[in-house]
């Protein structure tokens, strides 16, 4: 089939994206299509007959590039070139050009076909890609340098370790080895717990793992144990590295040594604790001292009020009796005079007794009482004491009933036993009603002697019983009855000197029974001892 040349011509003339035209053998334009017009800016009538060198830059013309192109095409049959071309308006574009040598049937050159494409955009894109690549390369290099710098700085300044997600050490730096005293070889592949000090509560360690396993950064202060068993403190930041699934695949631990600071802190805490302890001790001592002082002060005020009352009552009797003696000057009033003189004597005795109590107590408190054991008859002593107090009893019309059991021969300090009995019997009389009966029982058994004195008096209120032997103590129901509150305290101290015991059974408004118990024969070593 013969090709329809006309159809080709139409097709070529209407191609818009390619400049297709024909040159004569010298390079003059002989045909022009729409693509050529669009790319180069010349209309057909403007360009036909003109030499194709108008499409080249001055530099290319000087280099005779147009001629060389044509010669190449002539020689090779076809030649491709890329380069800058000039439009009618003088602007440049990057062109891809194909020359084809046209020949007749005999092989004689008739001209050249030229196809030109504007590939400026492609060229621009390539340039951009190249520029970007260069930039990327620069940046990558910069980043790599920076990362290395960072790593260097980190290694210089910090203790660095990397573990896998299970806590197995995969990297440590020199600082890590230095502080932990392990070598790199000893650490790599080991569980990170190798430096665990067991100092921290489990909750803290659990919190650490939960935090980093969830991809969060953990910060805190940890105490670690070095290879040699010493401890060091590190301020720790653990950064999890997250994989594309969002799971941590390794942990970077950056630490700094804060051992000195921690030691200082611990020392401060220790000092504080010591201080607190000291303060507590001092406070306790002070409180105790204050309490003692308060006790002494209470004692003093109790003493003052007691002494005041106990002294003022006999002094009252003395003062009034003295005044009454003055009234009875006549010889026939001698009986009344004598009564008052006797009253004065009795009151002075009363005052002397109180003073004696004080002196006894003072001696007892200073352990200045000597124990002088002698043989004597306890039964006889009880009767003597009863006789001594008969005056008091007579006044209140009281009776005493003495019952002995066993033998009365004992070895003890007679003076002390006498004082004890006198004290207890006086109390029984004082706190018993008029016409009351007092029973004294003695007993001796297995080298033990006991004396009990029973009264049917006011009794001791139960709440007062525990304090009964305290100095200056007076029970509620005895407040208005004369007494120093010293007697039972003295008795108790005397009983201690005798290595004996005293106890009582009492009920308010029913009466009391006081019982003393001591050895029938006192320890001879005690003889002459001052009773400490």
């Amino acid at each position: 089939m013969q090709p329809d040349l006309n159809n080709y011509k139409v097709l070529v003339e209407n191609v818009k994206d390619y400049a297709i035209f024909i040159l004569d053998t010298d390079g003059h334009v002989t045909s022009w299509n729409k693509g050529a017009e669009k790319i180069k800016g010349y209309k057909e009538q403007e360009i036909i007959g003109r030499h194709m060198s108008v499409f080249y830059t001055k530099e290319d013309i000087e280099k005779k590039i147009p001629e060389k192109n044509l010669q190449n095409a002539k020689r090779l049959g076809q030649f491709e070139d890329e380069g800058w071309r000039v439009r009618k308006d003088g602007s440049l574009f990057w062109a891809s050009v194909t020359f084809t040598a046209l020949r007749d049937k005999k092989g004689n050159l008739t001209g050249f076909g030229k196809l030109t494409r504007d590939i400026s955009r492609r060229r621009q894109n390539e340039d951009e890609i190249q520029r970007l690549n260069r930039q990327l390369e620069n940046q990558l290099q910069l980043s790599q340098t920076e990362v290395l710098d960072y790593k260097h700085a980190l290694d210089e300044s910090s203790i660095v370790a990397i573990t896998d997600q299970k806590g197995i050490i995969t990297h440590v730096n020199n600082n890590f080895c230095k502080i932990s005293k392990y070598s790199k070889e000893e650490l790599l592949g080991q569980d990170h717990r190798i430096i665990n000090s067991k100092y921290h509560p489990k909750e803290l360690i659990r919190d650490l793992w939960v935090t980093i396993a969830n991809g969060k950064i953990w910060r805190g202060e940890l105490k670690n144990r070095a290879k040699d068993g010493t401890y060091y403190w590190v301020d720790t930041t653990i950064v999890p590295f997250i994989n594309e699934k969002g799971k941590p695949y390794q942990y970077l631990a950056i630490r700094s040594d804060i051992t000195q600071r921690k030691l200082a802190e611990e020392q401060i805490i220790r000092i504080n604790q010591n201080l607190e302890k000291k303060i507590k001790e001092r406070t306790f001592e002070l409180t105790e001292a204050l309490e003692r002082e308060k006790e002494v002060s209470d004692m003093k005020s109790r003493f003052v009020s007691m002494a005041s009352h106990e002294f003022r009552t006999p002094l009252s009797a003395i003062l009034s009796s003295t005044s009454l003696v003055d009234h009875y000057k006549d010889p026939e009033q001698s009986e009344k005079r004598h009564k008052h003189i006797e009253r004065i004597r009795s009151s002075v005795r009363n005052l002397t007794d109180i003073l004696d109590d004080f002196l006894s107590l003072d001696k007892l408190e200073q352990s200045k009482v000597d124990v002088n054991n002698t043989h004597f008859d306890l039964h006889k002593l009880v009767e003597d004491v009863t006789e001594e107090t008969s005056g008091m009893m007579k006044k209140k019309n009281q009776r005493v009933n003495v019952l002995h059991d066993g033998q009365g021969e004992i070895v003890q300090d007679k003076k002390i036993v006498r004082n004890i009995l006198l004290n207890l019997l006086s109390n029984a009389i004082k706190y018993s009603p008029e016409d009351g009966e007092i029973i004294i029982r003695t007993a001796s058994k297995n080298n033990k002697v006991s004396v009990s004195i029973e009264d049917k008096g006011i009794g001791i209120p139960s709440e007062a019983q525990k304090d009964l032997f305290s100095k200056f103590f007076r029970a509620r129901n005895a407040a208005n009855i004369q007494g120093t509150g010293l007697g039972l305290n003295i008795v108790k101290r005397y009983m201690e000197l005798l290595d004996g015991s005293i106890y009582f059974v009492s009920e308010e408004n029913k009466g009391s029974t006081f019982t003393i118990e001591f050895a029938q024969k006192a320890d001879s070593e005690k003889q002459g001892n001052n009773g400490t």
Binding site: S320, L324, R343
Partner: protein
Amino acid sequence: MKKILVIEDNTEIRENTVEMLELNNYKVFSAKNGNIGFQLAKKNKPDVILCDMMMPDTDGREFLQLAKNHVIVRKIPLIFFSAGSPLPDIKKKLIKEADDFLEKPFSEEDLLHAIERALKKQMINF
């Protein structure tokens, strides 16, 4: 003759006080506790009552309560005496409610002065 009531548990002091007053021409009644004293006061209507504050049975405070609630006895001048000094606050309050106060030991002169002061007051009271 003016009548005086002495309430005091201590035998010596009670007897001595009565004796001193009798020697100074007073008619004297005496009691050893507040309760007996109050009965005597109601019965004999004394011009002055002397009462000890500390007594084993009914004491001065209880006597004062009884006296305050009696239409006649409450008008009789009351002199407290006490051996307690320094005085606890409770006693100081009690003394304020009485007309006078004598501190033990007191002299015959102190006693007579106190009685005379009380008698003057009694005259105003009636």
